[in-house]
Symmetry: C2
Subunit: 156 residues, 2 copies
């Protein structure tokens, strides 16, 4: 991976982290996401997890980003976009991102226990999941994980 | 299963099928769902698949029902409700219904190839999916399947 791409990924993940911090400030599980055009690099959508605020168990940051952009573009599929998200998507989001024909998922912290990609659920390894976005992991992993740990420590 | 319960299931599935037919008439994949209170039997939410109309790849009938009811009740969890849906939920919906702490899923046609429950994805068999709604399958299976087949035959 060229250094310039790596720097870009870090920059974008910082923006996703800003969204995660907004969630933290609103007492929501601190996860944030943004959607970026794969060629122009434009940030076209950003969201923090809002399951409590919206009274919606599906209002994860990833889903909100996808809903926002699809509504704006009046489409159901967004193959020209990459998603940056602070935590590995859960199985629900992993499936939704496949249905949306997303180009690439770049995530911060892995979720080896309950994630939809690297846990033993590993949704994209099933042949019936036809579209599998490219995956990049570990961008600002430490910062993304620390924010989540801080949140759950406060809750104990 | 007592006959009276069985008759009730058929009655509710007919209502879900009405929603599926609405989807068919709007050129959407014909799947419909309703949410019913597990004790009172009141139908509290109903939806047809609207991924095209809403420009939202997550706008499956099940997800729309859950969003509607959670918004009305201002909650994220609906443990007192049963979902009737004409097709076995996909992995995205199966995960969402678990997060919503749904009581029971009653579905019409099975989706042995791509479903989230009876295909080899079988999401609820993973221990990290903490809440597993009860499952009932095969209610008005033939009618539910026939409507889907008619839709896809037209598309060829």
């Amino acid at each position: 991976m060229p250094v310039s791409m790596c720097n870009k990924d870090i920059l974008y993940m910082r923006t996703a982290l800003e969204e995660a911090k907004l969630a933290f400030d609103h007492d929501e599980v601190p996860i944030g996401a943004i959607l970026v055009h794969k060629d122009t690099g434009d940030i076209v959508s950003r969201a923090s997890n809002k399951t409590i605020e919206m009274s919606d168990p599906t209002a994860h940051a990833e889903i909100l980003c996808v809903r926002q952009l699809c509504k704006t573009l009046k489409v159901q599929r967004i193959p020209d976009y990459n998603l940056y998200v602070t935590l590995e998507p859960c199985p629900m989001c992993a499936a939704a991102l496949s249905y949306a024909r997303l180009n690439k998922i770049i995530f911060g912290a892995s979720d080896l226990k309950s994630g939809g990609l690297t846990s033993d659920i590993a949704l994209y390894e099933y042949p019936q999941i036809h579209h599998k976005p490219d995956l990049v992991s570990g961008i600002l992993e430490e910062e993304c994980r620390t924010l989540l740990q801080k949140f759950f420590q406060q809750k104990r």
